[in-house]
Amino acid sequence: MDNLLYKEFKLAMHPTSLIFLSLSAMMLIPNYPYYVTFFYTSLGIFFMCLSGRENNDIFYTMMLPVRKKDIVKSRFLFVVVIQLAQVLTAIPFAYIRSLYDLPGNQVGIDANTAFFGLSFLMMGLFNLVFFTKYYKNTDKVGIAFGWGSLVMTVFMIIAEASVHIVPFMKNYLDTKDPNFIEYKLMVLVVGILVYSVLTLVAYKNSVRSFEALDF
């Protein structure tokens, strides 16, 4: 698995996956729909799968002494690493934003603990939709990403609208840390759990579809 992960970083990774990590700095923008940062993470993953298709990545990998299942596993490990890296790099910028002598984010939710929980939820949804579709036909990356980004867009609209409409979201979750931290931590924990479950289901679906694919 180490070797396959090495291959993911050395050969398969598209440079945007690393470049987009710098977009974690968007947390510094005073008023912004911060979820967009994690949309870029998904865009980097899409570019990687797209360039994999152009570079015959799967064909190359299948010639090596590896199991098909492990090809999928290494891609998921890479994705989880990149998504976690995006969260970890975003946290310090979100903290700096919270120090501004300004009101919280006027567009949508503040970059707070609950926001990261909800972002995990969004990435989990993306992983489920994108990879389940992608591994049914690895040549149709665009269609898979179309569905993946649609789900993220709908999620963002609902999530950002609800902090203006839903009283619990508005009064408890869309506040500066550490106010109502117990609720926000709960959202974070649930977000991480849901992310883990959705990604695991996506992995299982992907392995099943990928095993059956002919090249």
Binding site: N3, K10, L11, N56, F59, L64, P65, V66, K68, A212
Partner: protein, 278 residues
């Protein structure tokens, strides 16, 4: 024990089927896998490594089933599909550095040796290589992990005659080291030069599987005009076709005597052309 034994490989598609393909390879031989475009060559080769899932059939590498021994088998074989058609913008040294990690028996000395022997520059990308050099680099990767069996899908297509000849010399040299080679091609003159055996596949079925001399000895080419052919002879002709000066057809060697027409030895190309005319 055969290096590779394929028994009743069957795969059905909507408009095509591989119909109980069987053959075996002995160590240190070169086997040419011939057939026209779409005959099932690539599908067969891909089925061997599970790139394509056969509906039924048994595939044994070195006497062992592929699915149960995938790691071991993949470590002992090299699969070359054309040249290098992956990561064509990455430097060769990057591709090598990644690939070597997967093989416990990777031999850095052998790698250096073959890189020098084929005059390959590790700082180039596959895109910067000629078609012939791409095939050679693919061979280097296979030989650096001491592949005992090379399976190649049309390695000579797209190569000029000199590069092709050069590559065939390499193949001949490798068999002397005990390496077994199976390669598909539709350039039949390649096989006249170096193959021990041929497997001829037509519409997904193995039409012939034998050593090349006895395959060639089965047929003669007949060149004739309309007047030279009576009904008896006509019934023995295989795949008649028009030529510049009349007609030509294949005929079983045993039927070739006393026909009155011009009889010549058949080569692979004429056999294939006429058999495909049937």
């Amino acid at each position: 024990m055969s290096v590779l034994a394929v028994n009743n490989l069957y795969k059905r598609y909507e408009k095509f089927e591989l119909d109980n393909v069987s053959f075996s390879l002995e160590q240190g031989t070169i086997t040419g896998f011939i057939g026209r475009n779409g005959a099932g060559k690539t599908t067969t080769l891909k089925s061997l490594l599970n790139f394509v899932h056969p509906d039924s059939g048994e595939i044994l590498f070195f006497g062992k089933g592929f699915n149960e021994n995938e790691f071991e088998i993949k470590s002992k074989i090299g699969f070359v599909a054309g040249g290098i058609n992956y990561y064509s913008k990455k430097k060769i040294k990057t591709i090598t550095a990644t690939t070597r990690r997967f093989y416990a028996n990777w031999d850095e000395q052998a790698n250096q040796h073959y890189m020098e022997r084929f005059a390959l520059d590790e700082n180039k990308t596959p895109d910067q290589l000629s078609e012939g050099m791409k095939v050679k680099y693919a061979l280097v990767l296979a030989l650096s992990h001491h592949a005992e069996l090379l399976i190649m899908d049309e390695p000579t297509s797209g190569l000029d005659p000199i590069s092709r000849d050069d590559l065939l010399d390499v193949f001949l040299g490798l068999t002397k080291e005990g390496i077994t080679i199976l390669f598909s091609t539709h350039i039949t003159s390649d096989l006249d030069k170096c193959a021990d055996n041929i497997i001829y596949i037509q519409h997904g079925k193995v039409r012939a599987d034998s050593d090349i001399e006895s395959f060639l000895a089965q047929y003669k080419v007949l060149e004739f005009s309309d007047e030279q052919v009576n009904d008896d002879l006509r019934s023995k002709l295989i795949g008649s076709k028009q030529t510049k000066h009349g007609y030509s057809a294949l005929i079983k060697s045993t039927d070739a005597n006393n026909s009155g027409a011009k009889v010549t030895d058949a080569d692979l190309e004429s056999i294939m052309i006429h058999l495909e005319k049937e």
